[in-house]
Amino acid sequence: MSQSNVVRAEFRQAARNPAAWRALCSRSDLVANSGVVAWHEGAQVALFHLPHTLEGEKLYAIDNRDPKSGANVIGRGIVGQLKGDLVIASPLYKQHFRLEDGSCLEYPEQSLRVWPVRLNGDAVEIGLID
């Protein structure tokens, strides 16, 4: 099993069983079909809100730091769908990361942390592993 598969499996695991949920912001802070960024204890969490996907309303939380440039810009990329996967294109060098698990389409060695995320009433919450 390759490195990225291990990483993906871990995140899927975490997505199912977060130890706790933490509210970051409210629903009205989100921008439809695009991203905003929230601060969480030193981490920068990019939140993407897709109100109308085939599976209904979807929310994704992914690390804001672009590993290639080292700049915190992922939240300002364009959301798209490539070969079935929902992706975010980094605005600086245009590489794509899967919103589902943070893996990179072009560079398997790059990968972004993702968090489980949900709407709890009006609150946007991310799941914490420990």
């Binding site: 970051l24 802070d29 921008v31 695009s34 700049a71 810009v73 300002r76 769908q81 294109a89």
Partner: protein, 852 residues
């Protein structure tokens, strides 16, 4: 197992000469893998690395030495080929197998002579200095340019191909040009009497004097001009400079002194393997004599180079067995073509002739005695017949019953030869020896892009004469294989940008969702189609790009209306139309930059760029800028950027029109116009062109009578001079043409295609564009103008619009749940301003933050 490999000692190969053929030989040595066996040294007498001599006259048309250079600058170095430029080889010491150069000695195992030729100058008393110039090297051209500086008239001796090229060069230097030819017609080798006469008529119509059957006996001091040329018939012609272009002679001196066999008419004698009588020495190109002939064209030289390189690499090679000297050129803007037996010298040959004295066009078709095959042809005035005739001649294709149709004006259904009719062996590109079969192979292997095909085969990258034929064959092969050429924008739209543009226009589509639902696939789109459609919607309807439906389509720069820099901060460029700014506004701009500690730099477009703003600072910065009277500069958009101007007649003693006034008017008219790529303008107040308008998409240059309009120029990676489109326009006509030009570009260009590349890709070129824009040949004029007017009427400063709407401003927060800025952004001070920290400087941060 021992993993060490003893390096095999490589033999030394020397190539003498770094002209087109010598360079091609090196390219072929690299490509065919000969560098594993040889350490290669290349000696070039000239200072410059190999350059394109075929297009030498463009040196006076704006191309510089670097743009004429062949191949990538680091090609030799990358492959370990040692290039010695400016080093003359004085002697070949065949006994010791060494060459003696102006820099020392160098041993060789094998040697390739590619020394080329030199211009022949007949011994005429009094020919010296500016009355004895030649036209062969870049240095020669510099000498001609120097001589032309104070000259009014220039004469070229020699009315052949190169002579007419030289006359064109003199003309482009602004001289009154004359051609003096010894023979009774121009281009005596390639043309017959009628062809020569037609060419003469056309060239004289361009203001070039043609003097035939004249031999110059002496050159003496002139009365009205610097020199007087006295001819054998008692006539004379005065001139300020004389360029000799009366033929070439093989540069065979070092071969001769080394005792190599030399042909009676010059040139190192070679056999079919291009080998001289010394088996370790080859000769290729114009210095070689094969079967008593010298080949003064680039294609046969390339064939020789290819053959020799393959032999040295130990590969299968094709022997050199002569070359077709058919040629197609544009001389002084006149089409001239000559194929095979142009003079009908073959016994029994019959000719068809078409003569049009009204437009000075001439075509001759020479066919075999049985009327079945093309032997040769002469074309003057229109080379569109050339490709078909050449294929008939080269491939022995049987002629139709009435061959005259092949040279008659093609008004009613042209009888051109379809690409289907060509055999696989048909040569498409003779410079790089690419056959139709080779093109088919590439298509078979999956190449579906013309650029890719050119890159892989090099076809149409030599003289470029086969471009049209190559495209024809390529398209034909693609459709023959049922390859629907995939021009889809991306996986969500099976349309080109142009097609999507039409759909949006015709159906009045106003949102991405609507377009995707009706004509696309999936529910989301991607980072290719979203910005492309966003741009099309803006070009058509010009709604604020920050509207909720439009904002997710934009690239980050358009989304936040600023230019993202490498560390995630933004730069801000307010509009400073025409580069004109009041002191008060300049102070206001400085005050904002100072307050937010923004790195400040003047741009190339006469504006001021403020760097280092964080996302959450942008609304405050723009609030202050708008308060001070600024509006957005669209530096972030694929849209009109700036209109650069000089001060014009208002201040300048040379100015003939108010260039600043016109620049302001144009910038105000087209600001906010979204297009396939960025657009830049320049307006100069006189012909001195201080605004550099000829490097812009739209260039306007003042004349005594109005404005000259230039289009499709470009700076950047691949500079291109704008082309003169229309002259002496009044203000209203100028603006009407620009309206139509820009909207036609927006309608027909591919995504992210600048006007320069778009213009080069237009079938029919500049003439077609003039027909559409000036003559309104498509009847689109009023429509294009109306579409432009809609965009202009809907203009609104995007920043002013966003600042009015708290919903839109919500996005301009670094963190939605925290007031802090991005803690990972660090600056250091340099030359009194701050700049992003380099990774290697991160340890400095605590100190510099204290300083800040």
């Amino acid at each position: 197992m021992n993993s060490l490999v003893t390096p095999i000692k490589r033999d030394t190969l020397i190539v003498i000469g770094n002209g087109m053929v010598g360079h091609h030989c090196v390219e072929q040595l690299i490509e065919q893998g000969a560098l594993e066996q040889y350490e290669v040294h290349v000696f070039g007498e000239e200072r410059q690395r190999a350059y394109d001599r075929v297009h030498l006259s463009e040196y006076f048309g704006g191309r510089d030495a670097e743009s004429l250079a062949l191949g990538e600058p680091d090609l030799y170095a990358r492959h370990g080929v040692q290039l010695h430029l400016g080093v003359q080889v004085l002697e070949i010491d065949r006994e010791r197998k060494e060459v003696v150069t102006s820099a020392g000695r160098q041993a060789y195992d094998r040697l390739v002579l590619a020394t080329g030729s030199y211009p022949f100058v007949p011994p005429i008393p009094g020919a010296e200095g500016n009355s004895r110039l030649v036209y062969r090297t870049l240095d020669d051209l510099d000498a001609i340019r120097d001589a032309a500086a104070n000259a009014k008239r220039g004469v070229v001796v020699g009315g052949g191909l190169l002579g007419l090229e030289a006359a064109n060069a003199l003309k482009s230097l602004g001289l009154e040009a004359h051609v003096v030819e010894f023979a009774p017609r121009l281009m005596p080798v390639q043309l017959d009497g009628e062809g020569g006469a037609a060419l003469k008529a056309r060239i004289e119509a361009l203001g070039v004097g043609v003097h035939l059957s004249r031999a110059t006996q002496e050159i003496v001091a002139g009365e009205e001009y610097a020199y007087r040329m006295n001819f054998n018939d008692g006539e004379f012609l005065e001139t300020d400079l004389i360029v000799f272009s009366a033929g070439i002679r093989p540069q065979d001196a070092i071969g001769r002194s080394a005792g190599l066999e030399i042909a009676a008419r010059g040139g190192v004698v070679v056999d079919n393997d291009c080998r001289t009588n010394d088996p370790d020495i080859f000769a290729i190109g114009e210095c070689a004599s094969w079967n008593g002939s010298i080949f003064g064209l680039v294609a046969p030289g390339y064939s020789m180079a290819r053959s020799v390189a393959a032999q040295l690499a130990g590969a299968v090679y094709e022997p050199f067995t002569g070359a077709d000297m058919s040629t197609k050129l544009k001389l002084l803007g006149v089409d001239v073509g000559s194929i095979g037996d142009a003079h009908a010298a073959t016994p029994g040959a019959k000719s068809y002739r078409f003569i049009d004295e009204a437009s000075a066009s001439y075509r001759r078709l020479v066919v075999s005695a049985d009327g079945k095959n093309v032997l040769g042809a002469v074309l003057v005035g229109d080379n569109s017949y050339y490709d078909t005739l050449l294929q008939y001649a080269q491939n022995g294709i049987v002629l139709p019953k009435d061959p005259s149709g092949l040279i008659l004006p093609q008004s009613e259904g042209s009888p051109t030869l379809g690409a289907d009719a060509l055999p696989d062996s048909a040569t498409i590109c003779s410079c790089h020896n690419v056959s139709k079969g080779a093109v088919c192979c590439k298509v078979e292997a999956g190449v579906t892009d013309l650029g890719e095909l050119k890159a892989q085969t090099k076809a149409a990258t030599g003289c470029g004469g086969c471009s049209a034929l190559l495209k024809l064959v390529f398209d034909n092969e693609l459709s023959a294989r049922g390859v629907a050429v995939d021009k889809s924008l991306c996986e969500h739209f099976a349309y080109t940008r142009q097609e999507l543009y039409s759909i949006v226009r015709v159906e009045g589509v106003i949102s991405f969702e609507e377009l995707l639902a009706k004509h696309g696939r999936g529910h989301t789109g991607c980072d290719i189609c979203k910005p492309a459609v966003g741009s099309i919607l803006a070009s058509c309807w010009n709604q604020p790009i920050t509207d909720p439906l439009l904002v997710p389509l934009q690239d980050t720069n358009d989304t936040f209306m600023a230019n993202m820099q490498k560390n995630g901060t933004y730069s801000v460029v307010p509009r400073i139309a025409g580069g004109e700014i009041t002191p008060d506004k300049l102070i206001a701009l400085g005050a904002v930059a100072k307050k937010y500690d923004l790195y400040t730099k003047i741009t190339g477009g006469q504006r001021i760029d403020l760097f280092g703003a964080q996302l959450h600072q942008l609304p405050d910065i723009w609030g202050e800028l708008i308060e001070a009277g600024f509006e957005t500069g669209h530096a972030y958009g694929k849209s009109l950027r700036t209109v650069k101007s000089c001060v014009g007649s208002t201040w300048c003693r040379y100015g003939v029109q108010d260039s600043v006034g016109m620049a302001l008017r144009l910038e105000d008219r087209y600001k906010g116009l979204r297009s396939p790529h960025k657009i830049k303008f320049g307006v100069s107040g006189c012909t001195r062109e201080c605004a550099e308008a000829q490097s812009k998409d739209i260039g306007v240059i003042a004349t005594e009578n109005g404005w000259n309009l230039y289009v499709s120029g470009n700076g950047g990676m691949r500079p291109r001079h704008a082309e003169l489109f229309a002259t002496d326009l009044d203000d209203a006509t100028l603006i009407r043409y620009i309206d139509r030009f820009l909207m036609f570009y927006i309608r027909t260009a591919d995504k992210l295609q600048r006007t320069s590349v778009w213009r080069e890709s237009l079938d029919g070129g500049l003439d077609y564009l003039k027909e559409v824009i000036i003559d309104d040949s498509l009847g689109l004029g009023a429509e294009l103008e109306a579409q432009m007017q809609l965009v202009i009427d809907r203009y609104e400063c995007e920043w002013a619009n966003a600042l009015k709407d708290p919903e839109k401003l919500k996005r301009f927060r670094t963190f939605v749940n925290d007031e802090r800025g991005d803690p990972d952004i660090h600056f250091v001070k340099e030359r009194g301003q701050r700049r992003p920290v380099h990774a290697s400087e991160l340890h400095l941060i605590p100190v510099t933050e204290e300083v800040l």
